[in-house]
């Protein structure tokens, strides 16, 4: 069964450093999502792509976060510089056209020291 892939699974960094997370959605899924899940809370959408276009980044802190999906397949989420409050699980999900279900990857757990 196809799955959403994410790497790395765990990342520890110091504040003010740059970090990047990678996501490879299920093949053929046009819609890709990045979520942030703070410990003890539900996931919150950071950015949504339709193919290579951003369709919702209203909750993305654009002064330090950026996301791209250049060829409409895999995607990278970057934080520069990282802050202590960025410590969280970063989840990627994808959805096929016309469907209602999002399929989640295993996530990247970020710890900022």
């Amino acid at each position: 069964e196809a799955e959403v892939a994410q790497s790395p699974r765990y990342k520890i960094t110091e504040k003010s450093q740059a970090v990047a997370f990678w996501c490879d959605p299920i093949s053929g899924h046009a819609t890709l999502y990045w979520y942030r899940q703070i410990l003890g809370q539900g996931p919150e959408l950071l950015v949504q792509f339709q193919d290579e276009s951003v369709v919702d980044d209203s909750q993305l802190p654009k002064d330090r976060f950026s996301a791209e999906r250049l060829k409409g397949v895999d995607s990278t989420l970057k934080i520069q510089p990282a802050e202590l409050g960025d410590s969280a699980m970063y989840l990627c999900a994808s959805r096929p056209a016309g469907a209602d279900t999002q399929y989640f990857g295993p996530g990247t757990r970020l710890t900022v020291l």
């Binding site: 809370q41 539900g42 919702d56 989840l91 999900a93 209602d100 279900t101 999002q102 399929y103």
Partner: protein, 118 residues
């Protein structure tokens, strides 16, 4: 604006006992409803969803949920839990209607931690 309230942050239960995880939502329009499960250090897995039709929805692992429009609730139930059901459970909601130029996002509750004890 939509919101989801999961009324219990933690639910302890003994193995083979029944369990109900409560979820209420707020929305001015018709919605789709979802329950996801998250095992430690893993992503979310869909348990079940309500899109339309029968208000009683059956999902994987023996879970079911009932949509109650008048009470704006979508409670999750299982008649007999196992140790392996220990996990975090998330209720989520999304608008049915996609407004012009908009993309409806999935709104999650804060989660309920189900702890099954032997």
């Amino acid at each position: 604006a939509q919101s989801v309230t999961q009324l219990d942050s933690q639910v302890p239960v003994f193995e083979e006992a029944p369990v109900e995880l409560r979820c209420n939502y707020s929305s001015s329009v018709s919605v789709y409803l979802f329950w996801y499960v998250q095992y430690p250090n893993q992503g979310l897995q869909l348990l079940l969803k309500y899109l339309s039709g029968s208000t009683l929805v059956k999902g994987i692992n023996g879970f079911e949920a009932e949509f109650n429009k008048s009470q704006t609730s979508f409670h999750l139930r299982k008649p007999s839990v196992h140790i392996s059901d220990t996990a975090e459970y998330f209720c989520a909601v999304r608008n049915q209607i996609i407004f012009s130029g908009g993309y409806n996002k999935l709104i999650f509750g804060a989660g309920t931690r189900l702890a099954v004890h032997p």
